[in-house]
């Protein structure tokens, strides 16, 4: 079944015709060519595909594109305020070497931003580690990801994002 779908992605209105079975991540990657959001598993475990839908982090591999009809979607491509300035979470990931191969990184960053906001910019190490339950990384051993998120929380607060 082919369905028309329209949503806002990173502030831009987009639309397309998709099969009902098209996942949100397929719509982003294959229809919009936005390949920053990754697919690392088929069982909704790895979190490489995390994006924000109406301000909440979700696994875009476990949501149909048609379910995002009318929604505001933010992906990793939409975070940086300008070409030469990164979001504080992106900056913290870079400063703390919180990424190696980069494949899990988009999902990690999107989950991390949601985490910081849900906890009102107040996080401790145990909370960060628990909140990363839905994101797998095989390179970093998580050590520097945790460090980066703890560093980003106050930076996001002072930047007002």
């Amino acid at each position: 079944m082919t369905i028309s779908v329209a949503m806002t992605v990173n502030g831009k209105s987009v639309s397309g015709k998709v099969e009902a079975r098209t996942l949100l991540v397929q719509f982003l990657r294959e229809h919009l060519g936005m390949t920053g959001t990754h697919v690392g598993c088929d069982t909704s475990q790895c979190g490489a595909c995390v994006v924000h839908v109406d301000g909440q982090s979700v696994k875009s591999c476990t949501m149909l594109a048609v379910q995002a009809e009318g929604a505001k979607v933010t992906t990793i491509e939409g975070l940086a305020p300008s070409a030469d300035k990164l979001h504080p979470m992106q900056e913290a990931f870079r400063d703390n070497h919180a990424l190696q191969c980069g494949f899990c990184t988009p999902g990690m960053v999107m989950s991390a931003i949601d985490m910081v906001k849900r906890h009102n910019y107040q996080l401790d190490e145990a909370t960060v580690r628990r909140e990363l339950e839905g994101n797998l990384c095989r390179c970093t051993g998580y050590h520097n990801i945790v460090k980066a998120i703890l560093a980003a929380a106050p930076a996001m607060k002072s930047a007002g994002v």
């Binding site: 069982t43 475990q45 992106q90 980069g102 494949f103 628990r130 095989r138």
Partner: protein, 794 residues
């Protein structure tokens, strides 16, 4: 020179911006016009005869472009996949080498074996069509239990490997070792299973290919750690496409850990089919396929014995191992449990006599090959668990027993009884530093405090050595390896002074774009933002052996240093000409050529410009241009070493093991970028702890189905399984490479399993538990506790 961005500086990574903004380019991200999509039909059985394959209904399925089966490859005379390392049996015979067809022809030998390739206009359509293929299988009994692979009557995997035996290999003189055991005051014995692991790089394997009918050129994009080696194998052995007509590109690759070294069936098929389909083909593994078809790691069953004299000095070590090869011999599989394993069995110790016998078995399971550490974690696990067990039996402190047997600093270079000559090291200060960081002295107080909370606390050591920086080509040749193991580098200046550093190494997370730029910046004074590190494309790179075995910096970085030497040498001649000075008087300092004792100076950029615009240039003596190539072949392996200390708490009611603290002190020689090195250690530790506590590939022993076939069943380490780690360094520079560096990529994973399991055993010893196998899952630990309680009651 030293600077904020030179050697030794914590430089943030150049490559991060693209990964952080979603602009990295992995294979699946490629936009290929008119692409088709491949789906592979895989065997649902561990062992079966293929009686027939009927594709007629599938061919009519919507969107189908082509369907290929093993018979098509036979008709096209496509070769089989190869194992590139010949290991000689103890009788001097080369290992058994059963054929490895790219796609199964008449027999499938593991769940996931490739049966057919469907190419369609979309991935979903290809998958829809694959369901319509009718394969008539005659299911046969399968052997998946390694310990029973050599049993009489066990199902046979290949007619070419009678008794499922690939080789029966040995190192050392058994009679000498037996004689030493006869005189021993104490013998410690252990039976160990080194659990089978599934690599699970976060990016699933993927391939894409296109064929240019006009030129006859193929381009293959692959998630490869070594694109040149992949091209060489495909050209010379499998597809017969001449090397110069096949371009292999490994763009951004999302982690490898060994699993992306090898030449696989699916990428081979994608490449081969591209010319037949006439349109580009894309394929990306689903995670389930990764579980079933990525080469697995480890999987040993071992019996080990250590002989000690009355003072605790090691007299001899005897090791018998059965290693699982899986259903087919993967690219480097034969070398892993022999030359990368048994040659490491001296560890950090002066054990004078070592004998190891390794039998490699084929089973109806996915192929097994190198996985982070490859052989060395298995060796370290044998040595470090048996040493700790010996200490416990002798009621000695495990650190003390280690110290008593360490190779002393003055003994380097040190010839071990198992072929390797360790170039450098100083082990006692490492363990001292690890014990200081881990507060070993305060452990018993912490154990008592944990006991008051009902928890069992334990501490464990692992003092590892590894041989990495693969490898001296002549040694590899003598050992049966089929390729050289040098690395290439090219330093190509542009007229405006910026530079491309072209390396045959491949980065799939290791940060080469930063570390290698730091080398060139440090050596030539070119600003970091004027340096571009290029890798991963056979068309733009001279040649390369790729990245594995912690070799990139020690071998690839050394090649870059050689190339900078050539740049400086040529620059001196140009500068001498420009300054009207004698070349012998020209020195190169901080990016500038100078004549000692004068104020004459030519910045490197000026010499480069002169080389490309040679209006005032010694054309009779030197060629224009500033573009130098170097190949570096190391004189020896490098030998990083270190000690890890793990502290765990076990909940005896549930069996849950919690890692409370984990310390690693390493000697990686000189360090170029400490930030990146720490990241490698963190990741390695988690993979090592993962092996010890969480991960295990489990096949149903009867059906051969992979029971741990998804993240729902295979326990991946997650953030909340760990504390933050404590790291430290000691430095003995490598004496034989120009950077003085050793490797750091595998160390964490090599050392951690033994540290964790020694801690687990230490925690459980007071309640009578003698042995827990990896992974020490809650179930496994609980069952071990139950067993000990039953034994105590009897």
């Amino acid at each position: 020179m030293t600077s904020a961005t030179g050697i030794g500086a914590r430089v943030v990574r150049t490559e991060d911006k693209r990964f952080l903004t979603g602009t990295g380019r992995y294979v699946d991200d490629l936009p290929l016009a008119r692409a088709t999509y491949a789906y592979f039909l895989r065997s649902p059985h561990a062992h079966a005869k293929i009686k027939s394959i009927d594709i007629s209904a599938a061919e009519k399925s919507p969107g189908v472009v082509n369907i290929f089966t093993g018979k098509d490859l036979v008709d096209a005379k496509v070769g089989g996949l190869i194992c590139g390392w010949v290991v000689k049996d103890k009788n001097g015979e080369p290992h058994k080498s059963p054929p490895h067809p790219v796609m199964a022809v008449d027999t499938v030998r593991y769940v996931g074996d490739t049966v057919a390739m469907v190419v369609a206009n979309s991935y979903d359509e290809a998958k829809d069509a694959a369901e319509a293929i009718r394969v008539d299988y005659e299911v046969l009994p399968a052997i998946v239990d390694l310990a029973k692979a050599f049993d009489k009557g066990a199902p046979q995997v290949h007619a070419e490997a009678p008794g499922n035996l690939i080789y029966d290999w040995e190192i050392g003189v058994k009679a000498d070792v037996d004689a030493a055991f006869a005189k021993a005051a104490h013998v410690t014995k252990m039976d160990i299973v080194n659990n089978r692991l599934i690599p699970n790089a976060m990016e699933p394997r993927a391939a894409a290919a296109e064929y240019d009918k006009g030129t006859g050129n193929y381009t293959l994009w692959s998630t490869s750690q070594n694109p040149h080696v992949l091209r060489l194998i495909l050209s010379a052995f499998v597809l017969g496409i001449p090397e110069h007509k096949l371009r292999v590109i490994a763009p951004d690759v999302g982690g490898g850990f060994g699993s992306k070294i090898f030449c696989y069936a699916d990428e081979t098929m994608v490449c081969w089919a591209a010319s037949r389909v006439g349109r580009p083909i894309k394929w990306t593994a689903e995670r389930t396929e990764s579980f079933q078809t990525d080469c697995h790691g480890r999987d040993h069953v071992t019996h080990a014995e250590l002989a000690l004299d009355k003072d605790g000095k090691f007299l001899a070590l005897k090791v018998e191992t059965i290693a699982n090869m899986g259903a087919y011999l993967s690219t480097f599989s034969t070398a892993v449990p022999t030359y990368l394993y048994a040659t490491l069995l001296a560890g950090q110790y002066t054990t004078p006599l070592i004998y190891a016998n390794v039998k490699a078995a084929v089973t109806h399971t996915a192929p097994v090959d190198a996985y982070r550490g490859a052989g060395r974690p298995e060796a370290t696990f044998v040595i470090e668990t048996i040493v700790s067990k010996a200490a416990a039996e002798l009621k000695m402190d495990p650190a003390e027993l280690r110290r008593k047997n360490f190779i002393p600093a003055e003994a380097f270079p040190y010839q071990t009884p198992v072929a390797l000559q360790y170039d450098s090291g100083n082990y006692p200060p490492i363990i001292d530093e690890a014990m200081r960081i881990a507060d070993y002295a305060g452990f018993e107080a912490r154990r008592a405090e944990a006991k008051s909370r009902g928890k069992l606390r334990g501490i464990g050591f692992s003092s590892y050595i590894e041989a990495c920086g693969l490898a001296p080509s002549q040694v590899i040749g003598q050992l049966g390896g089929g390729v050289g193991q040098w690395e290439s580098a090219q330093i190509k200046f542009n007229p405006t002074g910026n530079v491309q550093v072209i390396t045959g190494s491949h980065s799939h997370g290791q940060g080469h774009e930063t570390t290698f730029a730091q080398l060139v910046h440090d050596r030539l004074g070119v600003p970091m933002d004027q340096i571009e590190v290029v890798h991963g494309d056979t068309s733009t790179t001279t040649f390369g052996m790729g990245t594995y075995g912690s070799r990139s910096l020690a071998v690839g970085g050394s090649a870059i240093m050689k190339a900078t030497d050539k740049i400086i040498a040529k620059g001196k001649k140009i500068a001498a000409h420009l300054m009207e000075a004698d070349v012998a008087d020209v020195v190169f300092e901080n990016g500038t050529f100078k004549v000692a004792g004068t104020d004459k100076a030519v910045p490197l950029a000026q010499a480069v410009f002169a080389a490309y615009v040679p209006h005032n240039y010694p054309l009779a003596e030197i060629e224009p241009g500033m573009d130098e190539n170097a190949f570096y072949d190391p004189a020896n392996f490098v030998y990083p070493a270190g000690t890890q200390i793990c502290e765990v708490e076990i909940d005896p009611e549930t069996g849950i093991v919690e890692v409370i603290a984990h310390t690693a002190v390493d000697d990686f020689g000189n360090i170029i970028n400490p930030m990146i090195v720490e990241g490698q250690v963190h990741g390695g530790i988690v993979q090592g702890v993962g092996q010890a506590l969480f991960e295990g590939a489990v096949y149903d022993k009867n059906t051969g189905q992979l029971l741990s076939g998804s993240f729902m069943d295979y326990t991946m380490p997650r953030a909340d399984n760990f504390p933050s780690f404590k790291l430290g360094y000691k430095v003995t520079p490598c004496p034989h490479n120009p950077l003085g560096v050793k490797g750091c990529g595998e160390a964490g994973a090599i050392a951690a399993p033994a540290a964790v399991m020694n801690a687990v055993h230490n925690a459980l010893a007071p309640i009578g538990v003698k042995h827990v196998e990896m992974p020490a899952t809650p179930l496994n630990v609980w069952q071990s506790i139950q067993g000990a309680q039953r034994a105590a009651a009897e």
